[in-house]
């Protein structure tokens, strides 16, 4: 009888352990994410460049890799300028505190929309109303580490690696829809160096990889760089909202 109870208890315990291992939130990883999030919370301005490689659907079961890059500058509390270059596109999104302007360098046309009065709301509004997704803007949300840990079933510190000769903390995370890998630089600033997302929600998994570089922290950006002056002969077009 006692043996049976012991076995039962052992089974219960092992199953618990197994569960704990499946859904693990690693405190070291959370600490590193908090550090990164904390830094963004303190910054008055931030600028960076990215290189993006993503899988896009070419046909039914064929993904092709598309490359792009961007140069972003954010000035708190209400300005940004993001230039996105990629295959067949070269666009600028500019926010001066009251309006967001989209400008297509390739087609010389632009669209203007009255925007909310702060960065975080404007980024969310751009996504909700116009489907414009800033490159991993989630990273800059004040509650990033909290939201991230809440949304992930598994967050783990995978050790220290080197990217282009610089030390970086490697963090892995996963939920039912995607796996995330973040490389966060070990230079005291805890800035993201690389983010690799593998989406698992479709019939085939596909990846979205972003490299960050040329960080500019607390640089005093003149506000004029966030103002858009339509180039000669540029045409204004109507921006169609989602709702």
């Amino acid at each position: 009888m006692l043996k049976k109870i012991c076995l039962g208890l052992a089974l219960i315990f092992t199953s618990h352990f197994a569960q704990a291992q499946e859904g693990k939130i690693d405190s070291t990883a959370v600490m590193i994410l908090d550090k990164m999030s904390g830094l963004f919370g303190e910054l008055k301005s931030v600028g960076f460049s990215t290189d993006v490689a993503k899988d896009v659907v070419y046909s039914e079961d064929f993904f092709i890799k598309e490359f792009g890059s961007s140069k972003a500058r954010f000035l708190g509390p209400d300005k940004f300028s993001v230039r996105v270059s990629g295959e067949e596109k070269d666009d600028l999104y500019s926010y001066n505190g009251s309006q967001v302007v989209y400008y297509s360098f390739a087609n010389n046309l632009y669209a203007v929309a009255d925007a909310p009065n702060n960065l975080i709301e404007t980024i969310a509004w751009l996504y909700d109303d116009f489907g414009v997704e800033m490159t991993l803007a989630d990273l800059f949300y004040p509650s990033f580490s909290k939201d991230f840990v809440e949304e992930m079933d598994h967050v783990e510190f995978l050790g220290v690696t080197h990217i282009d000769g610089t030390r970086a903390f490697h963090i892995g995370a996963a939920n039912a829809n995607a796996t995330f890998q973040l490389w966060i630089s070990d230079d005291g600033y805890f800035l993201p160096r690389k983010v690799l997302i593998t989406y698992l929600d479709g019939p085939y998994s596909h990846q979205h990889e972003t490299d960050f570089y040329d960080w500019e922290l607390n640089r005093e950006y003149p506000s004029s760089i966030f103002e858009f002056l339509p180039p000669p002969s540029a045409r204004q077009i109507t921006w169609i909202k989602k709702d």
């Binding site: 989209y102 390739a106 046309l109 204004q236 109507t238 921006w239 989602k242 709702d243």
Partner: protein, 337 residues
């Protein structure tokens, strides 16, 4: 033995001398070369202007300085610059400060047209079922100060294609946009179909004698050379062609548009006609078909990553057909999200 030693000493000295002298020689050469180069180098000419410059500079500075101090702009500008802690106190610009107007619409906008008090011009007795939504109508304020609605709410934006789309629609704001051809952007340039053709809202005092009267659902239109007019303010205003109107003749330069392997439509001035029993009936734009040109009065709209041209309620996707720029009529239908 002694002589040997002295010989050796002399030999050594000789070797030493040979070793050192070339150095000296080269040093001399170097020196000579340096001095020679120095002599050849226009050191004197270089120093000369340096020497002469200061006196020449000072008088010019002396003369220019009062000029700058007397310049009214610079003396007034500091008022601005003192308040602004920038390098030069702020620049004056030639271009005016940007004042961009927000221009946003939604796909739904064109679907909710209602006939509430749509008047054509100042003629209260002449009502046309028009769309009153701002952003949809074409209000032309010409010299006669006629503010007019030229849209027709009874018109349908498109009619579905004869074959299904191979891809699921691009969903945007509750509407699915479908096209057969891939997006190929080219700028929209309004097309003119000749002197007899007029865009919506165009006012003419008189019509040609060839004009005929066409009635559609108790509404009287005048038709001439591919353009429909309504009476307004003592003249006539070009309006959107009413779907269902039937005319006997359309301009000869109307484009043939393939709707299906067995059906052709005719396109002229933004209007589609279907031929039946020798007559031409105005029909909704056939989705999936392509046209070469769009008239004045259309506007470019950004829907997600693509820029459509919207004419009336119809969305046209810029495409290429056999290397030529064209527009495909898009199917835009409500989808469940």
């Amino acid at each position: 033995m002694k002589t040997n030693k002295t010989k050796l000493a002399i030999l050594m000295m000789g070797i030493m001398a040979m070793l050192i002298l070339p150095d000296f020689a080269s040093a001399q050469r170097m020196h000579g070369a340096a001095s020679g180069r120095g002599g050849a180098r226009p050191t004197t000419t270089r120093s000369a202007p340096q020497r002469t410059q200061p006196p020449s500079r000072t008088p010019s500075r002396a003369t220019s300085r009062p000029a700058t101090s007397s310049r009214p702009q610079t003396s007034t500008r500091p008022a601005n610059s003192s308040s602004r802690a920038t390098v030069n106190g702020g620049s004056s610009r030639v271009t005016s400060k940007p004042a961009n107007n927000s221009k946003v619409a939604s796909v739904k906008d064109n679907k909710v047209g209602s006939n509430n008090g749509n008047r054509v011009g100042n003629n209260s007795g002449n009502r046309v079922g028009n769309n009153t939504n701002v952003g949809n109508r074409v209000n032309i304020d010409n010299s006669r100060n006629v503010n007019i609605n030229v849209r027709n709410t009874r018109n349908v934006a498109y009619r579905p294609p004869y074959r299904p789309y191979p891809r699921p629609p691009v969903v945007w704001g509750g509407y699915g946009f479908s096209c057969f051809r891939p997006y190929y952007y080219h700028p929209y340039t309004p097309f003119y179909w000749g002197p007899a053709w007029h865009p919506w809202g165009f006012f003419v005092a008189t019509l040609a004698v060839t004009a005929i009267v066409v009635s559609v659902e108790n509404q009287k239109y005048h038709y001439d050379e591919g353009v429909f007019y309504t009476e307004s303010d003592g003249g006539y205003v070009a309006v959107e062609a009413p779907q269902g109107a039937t005319v006997k003749v359309i301009p000869s330069d109307a484009q043939t548009v393939e709707v299906s392997p067995t059906v052709n439509n005719y396109y002229y001035g933004g209007t589609f006609y279907e031929k039946e029993n020798g007559e031409y009936t105005v029909v909704p734009p056939p989705a999936g078909a392509v046209v070469d040109n769009l008239p004045e009065g259309a506007e470019e709209v950004k829907v997600g990553d693509q820029t459509y041209v919207k004419y009336g309620d119809t969305y046209y996707l810029p495409v290429q057909v056999d290397g030529k720029n064209a527009y495909e009529i898009a199917q835009v239908e409500e989808v469940e999200q």
